[in-house]
Symmetry: C2
């Protein structure tokens, strides 16, 4: 009876890193196998196809976001929960400036191919949007909550694109700071 090994985890981790850094299409299974220190042929024991591996990577990303949600749920104040989300992005701002938003850039890439897994990446982004919307509802913005959530994600994605394009982590940090200020200006009514 076969013993569990951590090869699957190593492959997943390497794939996640490399897909973020180089993009899905520019990452070969050989690259991933090498980085994970797993022989190429062995990859197919754990993942039927390259797409299946990518699919597992996106699922893992979704898991991580779900974990973050869970952690943030312990915070009583919705505004603080959103701030916690922004803080997480700030912590990752170096990687985002270097390689773009892992979710956003993957969506952009996969949406240009008929990969079938593009829906999965979309769903993850939609999930983040929904979460933000819920927080704004909790902040008392009934009608506007959806628009505010969209507004925030638009800015975060845009900031990620520009920070990546210009290799400028500062730009991203400033936009996050800007959003934090904007958020704290959101009380009863607000101007989009």
């Amino acid at each position: 009876m076969p013993r569990e090994s951590d090869k699957r985890e190593r492959l997943l981790g390497a794939a996640r890193r490399l897909i973020h850094e180089r993009g899905f299409n520019q990452t070969s299974l050989a690259d991933i196998a090498t980085a994970a220190e797993v022989p190429l042929g062995n990859v197919y024991y754990y993942f039927k196809t390259k797409q299946a591996l990518a699919s597992a990577v996106i699922s893992r990303q979704a898991q991580d976001f779900a974990q973050l949600e869970q952690d943030l749920a312990k915070i009583g104040d919705a505004r603080s929960r959103i701030e916690g989300f922004l803080s997480m992005l700030l912590v990752n701002s170096a990687a985002i400036a270097a390689y773009g938003c892992p979710t956003g850039s993957l969506c952009t890439e996969l949406n240009k191919t008929s990969s079938g897994i593009s829906n999965q990446a979309e769903d993850l982004l939609q999930h983040q949007l929904d979460w933000l919307s819920e927080q704004f509802v909790a902040l008392g913005k009934g009608e506007e909550a959806g628009e505010l959530a969209t507004q925030m994600l638009v800015q975060l994605q845009g900031a990620s694109v520009l920070a990546h394009a210009f290799h400028d982590q500062t730009l991203l940090a400033q936009q996050i700071a800007h959003l934090r200020n904007w958020l704290n200006g959101q009380h009863a009514s607000m101007s989009l």
Copy 2:
């Protein structure tokens, strides 16, 4: 003495369209040659390498933006010039929602490869940012002009990413409308 043919133009046009639709890496020279109705082997008479072709595509995009700049320069009011820029994006919103911003998504993709031409795409985006900044200077925002320009491009790129990810042209149109309102609220002082 060889007569001019429009093959180069056809190749450039096909490459531009296909690279926008499918991305650079997912577009083969065979695809481009077929779309342009030019035999594959003949491509290399006009472009030494695939990179050279992509480079020409970006140059063409830069040319087109320069042309737009020139047209908008005829407008006396800076606010109207910016609105003209937004109008152009609105006209193209279907294509942007379907395939992403041609400049932004190309930057994102090329920045993940060591293609050498990624600088060219960056420069084009930077050029757009500079143009916007100049318009805000003309609007009397000396100090803030750069930040306002960044703010606007961030939102446009973010809206493009989300509209593309969600296949939602409406999202992009709404964000453009939102920016138009925001712009018309920009008079003496403003709140970022």
